[in-house]
């Protein structure tokens, strides 16, 4: 078992190395993508500043707090992009029939189709995002700073970020499974991205029933809002259990779905 994990880890690093080589070949593209992502981030940041320029509080959250919601969204979104970028290339892989070649290898297919295409551009962004979170968090708590408060808040924040990543992993595996089972849905991964986009702002801005729907039915709220709320100490016990329950059961469900999909696989281009 340990040997298998070691092997898949080695393969992960090898795939990552080759992805870097391929990424570096498209230099002009990298610059433009970087610029695009930077613009998008800055524009929305400016938008939030503008909003709070004339409105001191939105749904009970101050400017700094709203910024942390936005920055946390970016941290989680970047981390998931870094890890799971390869899922975007899965549909073409299946349509061309090259997925067969992945299935035939003595390694877990996820090593290639889930983790096999690290996004290096987002690695550049995630560190500044996280640093900004810390900066703005420090602005929301009273001075003098208590080491204990900061440590415990940030720890629980990171724990919830991990939870969000587990949830994102479950989403992505489900997308992979759907990519095999259905032939008509090309947009699944893009729909996922649009849905989590709702998490850029605190969930309180959405009216019911939308708010409950996106917290309980499709757990966007859990993924994007909960870490920030945990940071502010706004999450109570039941919600914490709920968050982890949802992510772990989601992961189990997605793996079962994946297994089912392999049985139903009919192969293409034959």
């Amino acid at each position: 078992m340990l040997k298998r994990i070691q092997k898949n880890l080695r393969l992960f690093f090898l795939y990552s190395r080759f992805t870097l080589k391929t990424t570096l070949q498209a230099r002009a593209g990298i610059v433009l993508f970087l610029a695009g992502k930077l613009f998008r981030f800055l524009f929305l940041l400016m938008f939030i500043f503008l909003l709070f320029g004339k409105t001191k509080v939105i749904q009970g959250y101050s400017l700094n707090q709203a910024l942390i919601f936005y920055l946390t969204f970016n941290v989680i979104d970047s981390l998931t992009q870094i890890l799971f970028r390869e899922v975007y290339r899965f549909r073409p892989l299946v349509m061309s029939g090259s997925f067969d070649m992945v299935l035939l290898k003595p390694m877990h297919p996820f090593t290639k189709i889930l983790f096999g295409g690290i996004d290096y551009i987002d690695i550049l962004f995630v560190i500044p995002y996280f640093c900004l979170v810390i900066v703005f968090f420090l602005k929301t708590i009273p001075f003098p700073y208590s080491f204990f408060t900061i440590f415990s808040s940030v720890s629980i924040y990171l724990l919830f970020i991990l939870n969000s990543l587990v949830l994102a992993c479950a989403f992505h595996i489900t997308v992979l499974a759907l990519g095999i089972i259905t032939t008509e849905v090309d947009h699944t991964i893009m729909i996922y991205r649009d849905l989590i986009g709702l998490g850029r702002f605190p969930m309180e801005i959405y009216k019911e029933p939308i708010r409950s729907f996106f917290t309980f039915a499709i757990p966007v709220g859990v993924m994007m809002s909960f870490p920030t709320k945990a940071l502010f100490g706004l999450l109570t016990g039941p919600f914490i259990w709920y968050a982890w329950g949802i992510s772990l059961s989601g992961l189990v469900f997605s793996l079962i779905l994946w297994n089912y999909a392999l049985h139903k696989y009919q192969s293409w281009g034959g």
Partner: protein
Amino acid sequence: MIKVTDLTKIYKTHIKQKNPFKDVFLRKYKDIVALDKISFEIGENESVGFIGPNGAGKTTTLKIISGILYPTSGFVSVEGFTPFEKKPQFLKQIAFVMGQRNQLIWDLPATDTFELQKEIYEISQQDYKKNVGELTEILNCADLITKPVKTLSLGERMKMELIAGLLHRPKIVFFDEPTIGLDIFSQETIRTFIKQFQEEFKATVILTSHYLEDVKRLSKRLIIINKGHIIYDGTLKKIIEQYSVEKRVTITLEKPANETELRAIDIPISYTFPKVVYKIKRSVLPEKIKAITQNLPFSDLSVEDETIEDIIKTFFKKNK
């Protein structure tokens, strides 16, 4: 050792309905029987060719034996393993090479893909160097392996695919249309390579192809599939003997002969001076040859089997 008993594979396709709501939410499915209770066994070091019309079930059979597809019913065992379980020890012993399908990393040199294969199949550094060396030597392409794959021609890419696919010295190799879309020189190169590979490394080779020349050169045993059933399982030699009824006789004339003289032997298929081609039944071949040598002013005479394409056509006609 491959053992297949009563293998059945049914595909589900959905029938498009006129009503768009029904089409999405209340789908109707149609069952397509791709394989209907087929059975066969393949032993060590055999070379088998699967042929049949498009949609007959050849590729489906190969994909089930290699573990890609899940059989609807029946029993499949390869080297004691159940293919669909895709156990690593099983996968390390097989290879699947598909024509026109690639697993090479497009933007990088082939050596990078080879390195990946080395890691995936857990090949030792020593074996890796040896295998790469041997394979590049047989295929005469040592200078190509460091060039980005996207810059290579189709034939060159196929060579890289072969090396990548066979680097781990598999016991069983599946070739699915390996020469499709290649020019005749590349086809010849691939055929020679497969023959050499099988002889040197003693692998079981299972091949599907629409080019019967592939099968003729590379397989001793022939399995013909049509509409999900095996309609022939035996040696290539036997089918030629059984179904080859006529032989092609080509004569090169020294000087023009008139039509009546030619027709006295038989009605020629083609006559463009100096070549005359006859199709003569085997049963009457000796007397016809005698007649030709006695009556026609020829400088050269050759007798050939029917092309394998014609033989298979006759086979299908007789086994409707």
